[in-house]
Symmetry: C2
Subunit: 328 residues, 2 copies
DNA sequence: CTGAAAGCGCTAACAA
DNA sequence: TTGTTAGCGCTTTCAG
């Protein structure tokens, strides 16, 4: 592999001039430029980013932390991040933590080691203390999951309101026994969505019964299946279910169809509007999050941060999408 | 941020010694080591990978090219790649090309520019000519999609056989009118799967009718829905459908349920065994690919390549998973 | 066992 | 407009 020296020699100019050509500096005569360019072609030269990165002390890489790419919720967010990043000459490194602290540490170190310029975390399981420490010296943005009252800027939706609206929709349909399938309440979104669920129930004077609230360990389909099966074993069965993610809701739907015959179909609502939610049978009523926009904004915020600008947290709008799973 | 110089100064040793401590060289007395270590702690020092990478002329990053992460088929493969990479001190950079050549070029350049040490391509839309050129000077592995008779090592399954077995399964169930939903035949897997489909039909003296073969533009759910709708409009409707991916098959299933009443249910088989395939109603019969293993092997092959070893292409086993969509 | 020094490939300040 | 040169932070050879 040729280096900048060899190009300079071949073209009969200095390395500085080659560098100027490489970086489209204006102060190069067309004649010199051509000389350099033909030397580059001749030697099949590709400038090394390693040298440039060291010199400029940047990597133009941003890290995107997420627990697992198997949750399609992240797909569109990632698209948003990626498109924004690329158009700003950045690249993204997708980092699956699998909710393992060791993994997380690897990625934190990449930032500390200058191998990445900043980090967008979408991982609810992230170690907030460590992330806060990192954020003192490095650009960090939270996306979707965030810390209340924390100092890291975030972009998210109003989870409490979303849950409230989802449950209210179920109530308006005449349901009075509404179950909640949620995940571990160590996660803020789970606490907020539960709060929204309870607010709706209270507002309509409906009972909040612990046995109708099921906590899953993860957000995989199977967790939703499992949850629904348990709820169906109750003496007093719910007539409707609100799940805090589409993956759980889809699992619940699966447990419902082909299961025991019930006097009434059980209505189901999810959150996220993942693409698969329109392929289930029945199709899933859900709250749509502006995933692409969240990703786009998170990336913009990160880049502002990297430039040293201050950025404000944002809360985006969501929308109830009514489909077959709540149409009896 | 402290650098190695400052540590050396603080510890009263040379930078060489600090470097030795950093890299666990044996030839450092415990006493010197402690001095250095406490200096590191005191200054909160983190070694810069930028310097190391330049010096060693490696990035310990591998690129993973795929058309879109929204196809869950890639999830498990990526897990396999990632786990292998991490345990070898590598990181992966997921690269969505969106089937756009500009995107692809960005990633190829990262390898040329030394920003990445090698590349695993799972992108059927990849520009094979350019990839071959790249492979002359850089480590490249193909995963899933490959080039027949090409010189880039690959890991894949026997697509022709998989398709043959899927269709044979439909035939054994008594189906004689079997449609094929496939994608553009510029892709090798599409050609191979069609070949398997035709081999099975011929073997049982069943007709191959062009109107029962539908080509989709992409592999999204919606493409499958669309395809099935067209097939249902035919005068002579097929009684079974083989789709070359689970996403298409799931779309087909969706078009089928809630649609017009048919004398017999239409059987559907897919390929991939993505996690959704078990959540549809009915659940999907499919050919399971060993996705995790494919990813694992691809990563190992790439690392061997990066060490300069020769590697052999591999064809892995698949398996027919029978579920409700072919159980009438 | 430790230090001095060269150098990886590039950019940018300064000089000409 | 172009060249000279210092140096980004690290590893590694060679000497001691």
């Amino acid at each position: 592999m040729a280096n900048i020296q060899q190009i300079a020699q071949k073209a009969g100019v200095s390395v500085a001039t080659v560098s100027r050509v490489l970086n489209n500096a204006t102060s190069v005569t067309q004649k010199t430029r051509s000389k350099v360019e033909s030397a580059i072609k001749e030697l099949n030269y590709e400038p090394s980013m390693l040298g440039r990165n060291l010199r400029k002390s940047e990597s133009r890489l941003m890290l995107v932390l997420l627990p697992s790419i198997s949750n399609p919720f992240y797909n569109e967010i990632i698209n948003g991040i990626q498109n924004t990043a690329i158009s700003n000459n950045y690249n993204i490194l997708l980092c699956e933590t699998d909710s393992k602290p060791e993994r997380e540490n690897i990625y934190f170190n990449m930032v500390k080691n200058k191998l990445a310029d900043g980090i967008i975390s979408m991982d609810p399981t992230v170690n907030m203390q460590k992330l806060n420490e990192l954020a003192e010296n490095h650009p960090v943005i939270l996306c979707s999951e965030y810390e209340e009252g924390g100092c890291i800027p975030y972009v998210t939706i109003d989870s409490e309101l979303a849950a409230y609206q989802a449950v209210k929709h179920l109530i308006k349909l005449g349901n009075e026994k509404i179950a909640l399938i949620t995940s571990d309440e160590k996660f803020l979104y789970a606490r907020l969505r539960r709060a929204g669920y309870e607010r709706a129930l209270k507002e309509f004077h409906l009972p909040i019964r612990e046995e109708w609230i099921y906590h899953t360990k993860e957000l995989e389909f199977q967790n939703g299946v499992q949850a629904m099966r348990i709820l169906l074993q109750l003496e007093e069965k719910p007539t409707a279910v609100f799940a805090v993610s589409d993956t759980l809701a889809i699992g619940a739907l699966k447990a419902l169809n082909g299961g025991l015959k019930l006097p009434h179909p059980i209505a189901v609502v999810g959150i996220d509007n993942i693409s698969f939610s329109n392929m289930t049978n029945p199709t899933l009523t859900t709250i749509s999050q502006p995933m692409y926009k969240m990703g786009l904004l998170a990336a913009e915020m990160l880049m502002d941060r990297m430039k040293g600008k201050k950025v404000e947290s944002m809360i985006l709008d969501h929308e109830l999408i009514i489909r077959e799973s709540t149409m009896g």
